[in-house]
Structure formats: C-alpha cells, structure tokens
Subunit: 241 residues, 2 copies
C-alpha cells in the first residue's frame, strides 16, 4: 500500500432536477463518509481511483476526474484509527496506516444516477446512498470540504466543458438540457440566451423530431454529436481569446 | 519526511514577449530538472511547495497553484537514486526514499522574470536558469510531461481567470496586455475583439494618460482595478451561463 496517500471520490448524481452525492455510512459510526481507499504501490493513482470506487460502492465504468490533493495538517485526527478499529470497520493491521499523517487525492464524476447500477455498500459500511447536496448529513474528517471543493470545480467547468452526454436521454429537448445546467448551477437561466449559446458551440444535432403528447407545445428534439462533444472536452468548449 | 510524495514546481517566466520555464541542472547530471523536493510530515503540502521553491531556487513570494498529482507507475526509474547518490546530488540516507515508488504534486506560477529576484541554485545544482518554452533541454523522469500539463492548464485558465497583474508595468497599453496573452497562447489575436472582450470584464481602469514619445500614435494607458481583478480570480472572469 502506498504510504500516507488515500483517495476520496465525490460522485455527483443528477436525476429529475436534483443534484445528489453518493455517501457511505460506516458500520457503528455516526458520521457519513465519501467512498475512499488506498493506493496499491504497483498501480497508477488514477486507475486506483476507479478500483476504490468499485470496491466501496459497486459502481463501474464511471469516468473520474482528479481535482485536488488535500494535504492540510489538520485533516488528520488522532484517535480516528482507534475508533475505526474498535468498531470493526478496519482490520487492526491498518491502524498504523491511519495513525500517520495522510493526504488524499480527490476525484469527482457526475452521473445520471438512475442509469448507473444501484450502489451497494462494501463490508465495512451499513449503507451507500445518494444524499441531497442541499441537505448533507454530518461527515467525517474533512469530507464536507472535499465535497464543496469538487462542487465549486464542477460549476466552473461548465464554462469550458460540455455536459449532458450520459446524463440525458439520447434525444432531449433544449429545456431538458437547460434544466440540467440549472440543477448543477443551482440557479435559473435565461431561456433565449441559453439556447443561443448552446447552439453556437456546434455540439448539438437537430433530430428533426418533436416530442408530442405533452401539455405544452411539442418541443424540438436534439442529440449530441458525440465526435464534436468529445473534441470540446479535449479542447475546451470554445476559446475566449 | 512524508513517504512517497514529492513536489515539483513549474515556474513560467514572461519577459519581453517570451515565455520561459525555470529549470535546474543537477551537479554532474546530463539532464535538467524542475525545482522539486519533499514534504515535511508536519506541514501542509501547499505551504511546503512554497518552501521547496525557495530552497531550490531562492525565489520568494511566488503564488503557486496546485494543478495535478502525477501518480503513474512508469515515472519511477529503478537506479535513479543510485545515480543521484553516486554524484553527490543527494545524501546516501535519501537513497531509500527514492528507491520506493513516489508520486509528485505539481504546482505552477507565472511571473515577470525580470521583476523577481534572480534565481540561484541550491547546493545540489550547478545552475538554475530560465529556458525557452520553445526549446526545452532534455529533462529527467517525467518532468517534460509535467511542464506540458502545466502549460495546457495555464492556457485554459485564460478562459476563466485574469492575468497581467505583476506581469506588466502598473500602467500599460492595451497592446502590451494583448502581447502578454499572445505570448502565453502562442498565437496572434484580433486587436478589436481582444479590446472589446477585455473591457467587458470590467477589471481595467482608464488612467486618462497616454504614452508619448513612441513612433506610433500615443496609446491610452490602463491599470488594473485590483479589487475587481482579485474578485474575478475568485469568481471566474465571467459566468458563461
């Protein structure tokens, strides 16, 4: 195990205009925690993040982005390991690991949570659940700070990166796409401005179809041009300069 | 010393329309390297980065941004430590540290290099020099990759963050500011577009003065409104949505 280095994953879940985050409740603990874990000495840190998420939650095939190394000195609490060992959450041989100072690399992802397989807790946890971002439970160590930092970066990346693929149905209306942005940004956006900017990035295709059957005027349906979408992730949505 | 964790600093230097990067040449080594070092177990990683930069180069008061943890497995070269010990670059007691796999947190900064104190190499290095980004020498380990990643992030941040304070004189013309952007982005920009966008961010103040004495039409001089400039760094240059 790589000494003094852990991984924490902030998995944001979007579903029906709500933004949630995936949390674990360790056995016999009062506080909730992010799915996290250790780094095998022989493995790349980025690929270990995918492994850690799978081991702790059962989630597979999630594209994780590294966002920050949390390396403050006050994030280590003396006695933290004792408590985890005492309640059988970690085996005694890991107590030493926890008793030294450790730093943690944060990874985040945004998923449509009804489309990923249902998360399942690992042996050390009682539950693994989506919790509303607006009503987070009490969290251990600096996990609340890690979540807020990830959320700040997620919001800023909307200025430079497209989102929506794998979060929306294959064909979607402009107002469904706008609802996704409004959920992540947690504020209302101007309909005409949103439409104009989104079309200017040239990542959408008009399917030629309209959704019918609703109470409102039947809206036009779009899909992402996946090639242009992925190119925009590589190059940025547009260059300002 | 925190085990298995090092720090590498990518210091970009801007001066007279050239972009450079600060490199060290270790004693008796053929390859150049980034200024880097270790993390004291009792110290926050972010503050250790400032210390490391000072110890290796003599540079002080540089605002460093953390940008990535380099954690691939192939970045560790067996024999690397032997070579450094053999040529007196590191003391023998550090050989063990290097013989284990280590990961490195990258930090970067952009400075006007004629305005910071002249860099001076530490005991382990023969020289500490600004090298042109367009003509980098051969570098040890994955340091070339670290520089390219930092450069990619620096360029993308221009879409969201102001630059120029501490890089330009207190009062500057629009074309001097544009030259800074062109140097970092390594391409020409449209003069009218640049001016229009820059003014729209409301971070510049017209000094009411003009530079006189040049061969060309005397240009208007601007300064940054520091309060608005720092607010833009906090909040992003503008929200797209």
């Amino acid at each position: 195990m790589h000494p003094g280095l852990s991984i924490d994953c902030v998995i944001f879940g979007f579903h029906e205009s709500e933004l949630k985050v995936l949390l674990l409740k360790l056995k016999n603990q009062k506080l909730w925690s992010l799915p996290g874990g250790f780094v095998d000495r022989q493995k790349a840190v980025d690929s270990e993040a995918v492994e850690v998420l799978f081991r702790r939650t059962g989630l597979r095939d999630i594209f994780l982005r590294q966002f920050y190394l949390f390396g403050d000195t006050d994030r280590h609490l003396p006695g933290h390991a004792n408590k985890l060992v005492a309640t059988d959450v970690i085996p005694p041989e890991l107590e030493n690991w926890f008793d030294q100072r450790f730093v943690s690399v944060g990874y985040y992802a945004l998923v449509e949570y009804s489309k990923v397989q249902a998360p399942r807790p690992d042996f050390s946890s009682d539950s693994c659940t989506w919790k509303n971002m607006k009503d987070l439970p009490d969290l251990m160590l600096d996990h609340e700070k890690i979540i807020q930092k990830a959320y700040q970066i997620l919001k800023r990346e909307l200025n430079d990166q497209p989102i929506g693929l794998n979060l929306l149905p294959d064909e979607f209306s402009m107002s469904e796409l706008q609802a996704l942005y409004e959920t992540v940004l947690d504020r209302k956006l101007d309909r005409r401005n949103f439409r104009r900017k989104m079309l200017s990035y040239d990542i959408l295709e008009d399917t030629g179809k309209r959704r019918t059957g609703g109470a409102h005027k039947s809206p036009r349906l779009y899909r992402f041009n996946e090639e242009k979408y992925h190119k925009a992730i590589e190059d940025g949505l547009r260059s300002l300069w």
